[in-house]
Amino acid sequence: MRRRLAIFLLLLAVLVLVGTGCIKRESYVIKIGVFEPITGANAAGGQLEVEGIKLANKLYPEVLGKKVELVIVDNKSDKVEAATAAARLVEKEKVTAIIGSWGSSLSMAAGDIVRQGKVPTVGASCTNPLVTAGNDYYFRVCFIDPFQGTVMANYAYSSLNARKAAIIQEVNNDYAVGLAKFFMDSFKQLTGDEDSIVAVANYNTGDQDFSAQLTNVKAKEPDVIFAPGNFTESALIISQARKLGITCPFIGGDTWETQEFLDIGQEAVEGAVFSTFFATEKPITEESAKFIEAYRAEYNKEPAAVAALGYDAYILILDALKRAGTTDRVKLRAEIAKTENFPGAAGVITLDANGDAVKNAVIKIVKDQKFTYLDTITPQQ
């Protein structure tokens, strides 16, 4: 009996110690939530962003004399889980700001929660315009899809001389559907032909068999296939297309730039072209050089564009915190909105009225199983 009491008292003592430890720690740290897909279909993209954010945290661990602590939550590549994960950051962890998420649908699922909770959130690579539209608390450090769609339509029309295009889109992904729409509008305008889009095929996230859609697309004989969507499904689509004897070029969006796209697609994705944010061959700012060097040293591989954007989102928040001089979320939000000519790793960031960054796009091609720089496109003012 006495022994049990002793154990109980010991446990109580430990609890009290741990408890006070927590309380003490709270006031000395600034919590920044990281809201990314760590598991599920988008995991590879989410993990690249987390790598960039962690690296930024390592290089810039402090602000306002306090340590910055990252609270990483997994939104499991799922819209419902994304809302729960965002709510956890806002209500339970009470973070000062949030970074994320890879995937526009996931970011949009969190939109209302961060707006109502008044937590300033900076997206790294979510490019759908609706993420920040009508939401004062959502910002992003990347360009948006109307621009990206135009860039790829121009590429298809001018560089590939394509006059007939087919679309294969991930129909339950707002990013893919949005990007496909902007591409189609722009391509029709360029060709001056309403029927220049010869086929639109759909698929769902997680689908593995695309033979029926591809067989239909093949019958329409397009010059180019625009297939925005998740990297795994896209790689499977391209490799199944090649097996069905489709030889025309495949072009896509920024989501393709993951090692998994190459690993799964192998020689089938050779020659695939897509638009993205940043290329290591063309460092833009001093911060780019610093980032590229530190990333190579830390992870022993070449950085992807989304890793650079995750890094940028973090240093942008830190910069705004410095200017605000407080962790008050409303003041922080106002400072983030004022960001102008901020030198990030993936280019200079100026946020417009919607909270979107206006910057150049980079076109890359898969060559010898590597992402290789092709061109830089500047937005028309």
């Binding site: 760590i38 598991t39 599920g40 279909a41 995991a43 590879a44 993990q47 129909v171 339950n172 639109v200 095929a201 759909n202 698929y203 769902n204 997680g206 689908d207 593995q208 068999d209 033979s211 029926a212 859609q213 067989t215 239909n216 019958a219 795994t232 790689a235 499977l236 490799s239 097996k243 069905l244 004897g245 998994e260 690993d263 799964i264 192998q266």
Partner: protein, 297 residues
Amino acid sequence: MTLDLFLQHLSNGISLGSLYALIAIGYTMVYGILRLINFAHGDIFMMATYFAFFGIVTFRIPWFITFPLVLVLTAGLGMGVETVAYRPLREAPKISLLISAIGASFFLENLTIVLFGGVPKPFPAPKLFTDVVQVGAVSIQKLTFYIPIVTVIALLGLMYLINKTKTGMAMRAVSMDHETARVMGININRTISFTFGLGSFLAAVGGIMWGMKFPQIQPLMGVIPGLKCFIAAVIGGIGNIGGAVIGGFILGIGEIMLVAFLPDLTGYRDAFAFVLLILILMSKPTGILGEKTAEKV
């Protein structure tokens, strides 16, 4: 739609259908013997693809050694799951077993996420199987010929095993009545364990074929194929091995034709399987080849 186009769709459908059939066989066999829907079947299937990945990519063992090894390991895993999750519940009501099966399924999925990470990995498919053959205007992957052959071999082998061998006789006896079978001197635990091993062996065959056709593996990859093959088994008449093959083909060809002829409904592709299930259950609850069974009181 031209004839060539239709033939291409048909070949795609047969290829997918035979894959469903292959996995459904294992599902239905376990149910036929034990009256247990093994919801962990899809996850055992997923584990098999990971074993193959580690064998070929990590340990650089050639595929012709890795694949048999994978079959044995997966069969062992199935027996392990049976020992841990189902054996202690042998005398418990069926519903407890069902819940335990769902638990085993979640456990395997999350274990894989923790151990191997949630990022999809490429499946190392040997070139020999993935080459493409041109038949007129139709492009067919060699695998499309192999999968139905493997399915038929598995079907015939299983039918022989169950109907002609002593072990098969023991399995059938256990499926009728545990107590009486025990009185007749049949080792119940060993027979059930063997049944699970065999079911998992078939799941592994399906997993290897699936991985070669869709060369991307991730911890939750077994969920949808598991559900679809369960539906295929129910459509054919759950417990009936020939029925599972028929159900698999109906589902596979149906899905492809839905996407081919009604492209606007592509998003409802998975829903198609469930609608089909509901229709079958409403019109013929025992499935196409299912026998009428009186509920035991």
